[in-house]
């Protein structure tokens, strides 16, 4: 059982020092978790430390591929609104 960091990670370093198993490491383009070392903090903490401090919704997935911090759970921004913004910004980029 291990967690995974995906591309929405912004490389903020918050999770890295918290991992009790030194499973998290700096990598390009974003931080990664060594699945052999991660035990989801079992025995050390009730909550997975990386997912508990990570500020980015959707950046950390559990073994089933589900976001531990789903859209809206950290920022309070309704997910539809966020999708709208992203679509608008994408359109602007392509238009430019």
């Amino acid at each position: 059982m291990a967690l995974e960091i995906i591309e929405s990670c912004v490389n903020c370093w918050a999770c890295e020092p918290l991992c009790p198993n030194q499973a998290i490491y700096e990598a390009k383009p974003h931080f990664l978790i060594n699945p052999d070392k991660c035990n989801e903090c079992a025995g050390d903490f009730a909550d997975s430390q990386c997912a508990t401090i990570c500020p980015i919704e959707g950046a950390i997935l559990n073994a089933d591929g589900e976001a531990l911090n789903p859209p809206g759970s950290l920022t309070g921004i309704p997910p539809e609104k966020f999708a709208e913004l992203q679509a608008a910004q994408q359109a602007a980029r392509h238009g430019a």
Binding site: V10, C12, A14, P17, L18, I53, I56, T75
Partner: protein, 501 residues
């Protein structure tokens, strides 16, 4: 430690017999501070409007992690409110940061202050932050160090902070009431748990207040920053101001919320607006009865380098710095000479000003009738004189002239915080933007002004004036105010033109 009440309202100024031009301006407020504090802030560009013109500060981005979430922040982008670059901006390792600071200090001798403000919370990255401070305190003892924090882990780091050259700490305190805090902070990371809502806000507030008290007890200067969020904490900030003053903070800086949907923040996405210039000024005035208010904060970017509004960051990219050969002990001698020359100039200006103050107060006794206050905008490159072309100004200094004298109100930028790129709307022309930021002003003083903006400015009730080029700002304002008085323009509240605008 007791703080004297620093008051810059007109009535107080009159009571103390001071009706002079400098009354209530920041450097005059400094005059009321105890000597040991004044010494510390006098050449600090963030705390003294005067010093702003002569000294520079820089920030290095060494602290990426954060331990709380604010509704005005999106970790992905640069944060306009807490003056920090986003995590995607250039992040330095402590050794790189130290190299950069030494290179800048050796090139720009006016650089006297180094701050760490982000991109996350410096005290949520204690190893990186203190490694940077430690080696700077050793190698460059002539640079003052300062740090900005949200306060959550401040009490844990007081001893370490006291060890270095750190005499200024800025705490961002947006509230002292957890119910208000619940509307600003969705969560905090505390003792290995994510704590949401009111409970998290209550812990944050308690830690901030405790940290403030501990710093003051150690004799470390504390400035408090607050972000003014209309409908959320605007009515509450006067209480914040009183509370932090009672605990010994020496300066309170209320900044307007900057909030756009494109920032992708909770406030931006939910349509929370920022305050108008007028609302901000009203609140600053309200708090100033209790507290020394800061009015010249430009909310500069945390990774900016340079004097005033300028940014010379591009001269100091990492590859350029690697190529530089810095002999800091040598540079320190040159810096000391430059600093001494500036100190001399500041001192002679102060003496000249004092002499003038006495003159004006004698004149003031000849009791001019009460006249209404007028806001004026100044285009300047610095140095305390009117020396910027209207069209080139990227910001205006706003002053208020009244029968009590001239006081500095704040800065208004004409350029948006986002510097181009796909998140910036460009529907407005530069002139439209300038007209908007000058709202409420009746005069704009600049060294020169072109034909094109003249008409639109007048139509908006703002009189362009290029007749006082190279004159001292306060003298020019007084002269224009006097002209307006003689012309009988200071009795009516607002003339017709303005109502229409």
């Amino acid at each position: 430690m007791e703080l004297p009440v620093i008051n810059n309202t007109a009535s107080e100024a009159t009571k103390s017999g001071c009706s002079a031009s400098s009354c209530g301006s920041t450097n005059d407020q400094m005059g009321h501070l105890p000597e040991h504090i004044r010494e510390k802030v006098f050449n600090h560009p963030c705390y003294s409007e005067e010093a702003h013109h002569y000294f520079a500060r820089m920030h290095v981005a060494v602290a990426p992690a954060c331990n709380i979430q604010c509704h005005y922040c999106n970790r992905k982008y640069d944060c306009a409110n807490e003056s920090r670059p986003g995590v995607v901006s250039e992040l330095h390792h402590p050794e790189q940061a130290v190299k950069k600071v030494l290179a800048v200090a050796a090139t720009i001798p006016q650089m006297t202050v180094l701050g760490i403000a982000g991109p996350g919370d410096p005290l949520a990255n204690p190893e990186r932050t203190f490694a940077t401070f430690r080696s700077l305190a050793e190698q460059a003892p002539d640079i003052k160090l300062c740090v900005s924090t949200n306060g959550l882990s401040l009490p844990d780091h007081i001893d370490e902070l006291a060890k270095h050259n750190i005499d200024h700490v800025t705490i961002t305190i947006n509230c002292v009431d957890p119910d208000v805090g619940a509307k600003i902070y969705p969560w905090i990371f505390w003792k290995n748990k994510r704590i949401k809502g009111r409970e998290g806000a209550a812990i944050l507030i308690e830690q901030q207040q405790k940290g403030l008290e501990m710093l003051v007890a150690r004799g470390i200067l504390v400035k408090v920053n607050s972000v003014m969020i209309p409908g959320v904490n605007d009515a509450h900030l006067a209480e914040v101001s009183r509370t932090v003053k009672a605990k010994g903070a020496f300066l309170h800086n209320v900044m307007p919320l900057i909030s756009e949907a494109e920032h992708g923040t909770f406030y931006g996405m939910t349509g929370q607006r920022g305050p108008t210039h007028d609302e901000l000024q009203k609140l600053q005035d309200e708090c100033s009865g209790d507290m020394n208010m800061m009015r010249h904060c430009r909310q500069c970017r945390a990774d900016a380098v340079g004097l005033l509004g300028e940014d010379r960051g591009s001269e100091f990219t990492m590859d350029k710095i690697e190529a530089m050969d810095i002999n800091y002990p040598e540079a320190m001698k040159m810096r000391a000479e430059v600093h001494a020359a500036i100190a001399e100039e500041l001192e002679s200006k102060r003496v000249a000003k004092e002499a003038k103050v006495q003159l004006v107060s004698i004149e003031g006794i000849k009791a001019k009738p009460e006249t209404r206050p007028v806001l004026m905008a100044i285009a300047t490159k610095g140095g305390g004189v009117i020396n910027e072309h209207f069209g080139h100004a990227s910001e205006f200094l706003i002053y208020e002239a009244s029968s009590a004298g001239v006081r500095f109100i704040g800065h208004r930028k004409t350029v948006a915080y986002c510097e181009g790129g796909d998140t910036c709307g460009d529907g407005e022309s530069a002139l439209d933007k300038s007209l908007k930021v000058l709202a409420g002003c009746e005069v704009v003083l600049c060294s020169k002004i072109g034909f094109e903006p003249w008409g639109p400015l007048e139509a908006a009730g703002i009189q362009p004036n290029g007749e006082h080029a190279m004159e001292a700002i306060e003298d020019a304002i007084l002269a224009v105010y006097e002209e307006m008085r003689v012309a009988g323009r200071l009795e009516a509240k607002l003339d017709e033109q303005q109502k229409a605008a």
